[in-house]
Amino acid sequence: MNIVVCIKQVPDTTNVRIDPNTNTLIREGVESVINPFDMYAIEEAVRTKEKTGGKVIVISMGPPQVETALREALSLGCDEAILLSDRAFAGSDTWATSYTLAMAIKKIKDFNVIFCGKQASDGDTAQVGPGISAHLDIPQVTYVKKIEKIDEKSAIVYRMTEEGYDVIETPLPVVLTVVKEINTPRIPSLKGKMTAKKAQILAWKAQDLNVNDKFIGLNGSPTQVVKIFTPSPRSGGEIFQGETDEVVVKLIDRIKDELKPKF
C-alpha cells in the first residue's frame, strides 16, 4: 500500500513566550518544528504501513529549511520524502496550498491513503486536508480518532464529533485528517536517525508538477491579508487574597450579574 502523509513546518510555540511590554510573541530563538498534529499523522501512516505493508511518502511544501522536518519524518519511519520548494509557491493560501499538494500527490500516481493532521498550529484553518481531497476528487474523513480496519480497498474509521464519534466506512483512496487521540507518536530510533541523515530527499519545483501557474503561490491565492495586528491585551484584573470565605464572597459579588439567570 502507498501511504502519503502531508506535513507542515511551523514555529515551535511550546517554547514561545510573550513579551510582557508589547504583548507580542518573542520569536527570537524559536525553532521550527513539525506541526504537532502532523506528528500523529506521521505515526498513523507508519503504523498503517506496519500493518498492511507498503511504504510511506512524506510531503511538505515550504521554504528550503523544511528539509529538516522531512528528515525528522524519515527518522520516524517514513520511507521517502518530497520537498515542494519553489519561490513560485510562496504566498500560497489554503486554496493554492492544497492545489499544489494535490498536484504532487497526482504525480506520485499510486496512492491509497493520505494522512494529514487535523490542522496546523500556526494558521489553525483545518482547510488543507479537505482541500486536497476536493482537488483530487476523492472522499475524506476529518477528525479521525481511530482506524478500526484498513486494507487496499476500504477503511473503517472513527470520526470525532462534538457529541461522540461516527463510525464511517470509506473506499480508498481517501484523505484522513487525524486528531491527537489517535495514537502516541514514537520517538525516533538511533537507526532511524542515521538512515534519515543519509536519505535522499526529492525536490520538486513548480515545473515538475504540471501545475497551472494561475493556481499557485500568491497569484493563485484568492485571499489576501490586508492587516495584521496584535489583539488588545487582556489586562490582568482584580486579584483577591485572604480568608477563603471573604474572597469567595467578593468574587461572587463581582460576577453576580452573569450568574443571575441561575438564581
Partner: protein
Amino acid sequence: MTGIEILSDKCVGCKACLKACPYDAIYMQGKLAVIDEAKCTLCGACVQACKFDAIILRKEEETQKDISEYKGVCVIAEQKKGIIQSVTYELLGKGRELADRLNVELSCILMGHNMEESAHELIFRGADKVYLVDSEKLTHYQDEPYTRVITELINEYKPEIVLCGATSIGRSLISRVAINLRTGLTADCTGLDIDEERRLLLQTRPAFGGNIMATIICPNHRPQMSTVRHKVMKEAEVDKTRKGEVIKKTFPDKLLASRTKILKAVEEETEKINLTEADFIVSGGRGLGCPENFSVIRELAGTLNAAVGASRAAVDADWISYAHQVGQTGKTVCPKIYIACGISGQIQHLAGMSSSDIIIAINKDPDAPIFKVATYGIVGDLFQIVPALAKKIKELTR
C-alpha cells in the same frame, strides 16, 4: 511581476519590519532591511508594519469571473438530528447585519430530512429566503452530498458572501466547497465587517494561537466565504411576524450519493454539556494533583450547570479524557465565564480560552501567568476555595 521588494530610497532602517515578520525572514544589511527569500512566505506582515511605505508586495490579479453578478448574503444552516444548531442563529444575526449594510437579501441553505418547520424558524431569525433541500439521503451530515448541493446552489443563486459555522462539520464541508468554487475561504473568523466603498467583506481571525489577529479579504473571487467561530456573534432574535420564502429544491439521487457511509453514530455520555457550547466552564489543571480530585471541579461545575474542561497537563497525565482538553491542541472555547483551577496558564492553554468573557483564575502561585489574563484572580488553595465557591453558589440558587 509577483514578489516582494524593499525600496531602498524609502527604507529608513527602523527595523519595524524585522519585529513584524513571523518567519524571521528579514535582516539588516547596513542601514537597510533585506528580505531573505528562502524564508519569506509573502505573508505581508512587514508591509503592514512599515510606516514609510518602503515595502511593496505585488500580485497579479486574476480576473476570470464577473464578480458583479454576485449579490446577497447566504448562511449555511447546520442541523443535527433535525435540530438547528445555535451557531446557525448566530450566523443569521451577523448575516442580517451584513446584508442590511449592503442592502441585499439574506438567504439560508438548509439540508436535512423533514425540516420544513425549521425552515420557517430560520425566517423568524432573519432569513429572507430559505433554500430547503429535503431528502432522506441528507438526514445526517456527509461530506460529499452536502458539498455538491451547496456548490450547485451557490452557482445558481450567486451570493456574494457565504457564512458557515467553524464547527467540525462546517470546517470539513465548506473547505471542499471553496475548492470547487475556486474562491477564498477564511477560517474561524471572530470579526466580520464591510468595506462599503469596495463592497468587500473584511474578515478578521486569530492566528498563531490567538497572538496575532489578521484581517483578510477576497477581492477578486466570489463568493467571499468565512467560517465563523461559535459563540462569538450574537444570536438573531426570534420575530414570529417576519415573512420570507421557503424555496424547495430537489436534486437527482446521483448528486446526493456518498462514497463514505456512516455505519453508526455514537454519543458519548461522559459529560452532558458540550464544551464549545457551554456558557460556563470550570477547568482543572496540574494543581489538582490526581484524577480523583477532579470531583472538586465537577462539583462546582454541577452547581453552575457548567462544562468541565482541563489543561493539557491534566489530560497528558490521564486524569481526564482528551475530549475535555482546552487549548491549542484541544478545544477553543469562549464561554461567558471560564474558571481555571490549578492551571498555570501556558500560552497553549491561553490560546484556547482567552476570548472568554470573564476569566476567573484560582491558583496558589501568585506569579502564575494565568493571572495576567484573568478578570478576577484568587491566590490560594483551590481545595479550599473551589468547594467554598460551590457551597456559596448552592446557597444562593436555593
